[in-house]
Symmetry: C2
Subunit: 212 residues, 2 copies
């Protein structure tokens, strides 16, 4: 198909397709004339994936490029797939960040700090620092309750990784890590509204009168 | 204290403090001379909160302003605190978005769709659309497992809302909604690494050889 047909098939404007091609997110089509290229289903699939990563998951162009390169050259099965996905979506730990608070929690939860990468530990430390900078204190035991729930999520995630091919595993880990996050956060808000409604009753939310 | 001392006390540069004042995020100090104002602890607390909301939680200036106005004029207890917090951090639902997929799930989970606001339902629909646009299919039953875990999180959240004053409830709901999200996501990644390590063994993550 031509670029205009690719745009129609994916809903991505021609100018955006050209931008993704310049940024090396989308592979070139086959040239059929000096100014015309032919695109196929692989471009449709790739464009939908790019839109999901940049649009839905909110990744930068650079992080998206790194992930797509990972998809094209997947590490061996049993290798560092999860690490690659997490590195692309986790900011590098700042120099000199103190990981001790994260390591104490990992020890308390029995999560094995040797299994957990520095950047993700730093992300937890920073997120907890954000709470205390705002003067926000979680009640006793809250962090442990959160940890149990997120462990349930993670067990489900890890059990579901397909093992039939490295490409399938890679794809699942990358997308399952990034794209499921907005699903979980939307679920938390809906569950809060539902739990709050059951506890406090009152009118519907979002119309000026509601629970809490 | 003077503005330079306020900067020293909070780690926020003077130019940034002036910017927050112009944007009406930070209340004025008391003028002690034509070009000098006096600041107090209320400015220190407010600045730390602004940094947490903009820096840690990644809110826009406009969303932060709306939340801070909510803190200054808290709705009556039992009123729409949760809705105010969620509106500030949830994009408005697009016109004509079909909420049926969210409502079917809310019904299946017994979450009571009348308790749940349109924008949060739309956020779930969009997040699920992001998965299917990327051609990513969750295995059977995954969404229900996620829902059970996020319900556990939300029950803990709602039980912890302090009821001693509207200000305290508002503050808890706003910060607990926004600032806890990066904590939960960091926990999920660490729990994935831990669960993956237990299942697949192998070397540490982030060093080129690891689980999955």
């Amino acid at each position: 198909m031509r670029i205009s047909q690719l745009a129609a098939a994916t809903g991505v404007p021609v100018a955006t397709i050209k931008y993704y091609r310049r940024e090396k997110l989308l592979h070139d089509g086959v040239l059929t004339a000096a100014t015309q290229a032919h695109y196929d289903d692989s471009h449709v699939r790739r464009l939908k994936l790019i839109r999901a990563l940049i649009g839905t998951a909110g990744l930068s162009v650079a992080a998206t490029r790194e992930l797509l390169q990972g998809l094209e050259n997947p590490p061996e099965p049993g290798h560092d797939l999860l690490g690659l996905a997490h590195r692309a979506v986790t900011r590098p730990a700042a120099d000199g960040v103190d990981l001790a608070p994260a390591q104490e929690l990992l020890g308390r939860w029995g999560w094995g700090e040797q299994a957990c990468d520095r950047n993700s530990q730093a992300a937890l430390v920073e997120a907890l620092d954000g709470l205390s900078s705002a003067g926000f204190e979680l009640p006793d035991g809250m962090l442990d309750r959160y940890a149990r729930a997120m462990r349930d999520v993670a067990e489900a995630d890890v059990e579901s990784v397909p093992t039939d091919s490295p490409e399938a595993a890679m794809r699942y880990v990358v997308l399952g890590t990034v794209l499921v996050e907005p699903v979980l956060l939307a679920m938390r808000r809906l569950a809060q509204q539902s739990a709050s409604f059951e506890r406090f009753g009152a009118a519907t939310l979002g119309q000026g009168a509601g629970p809490v």
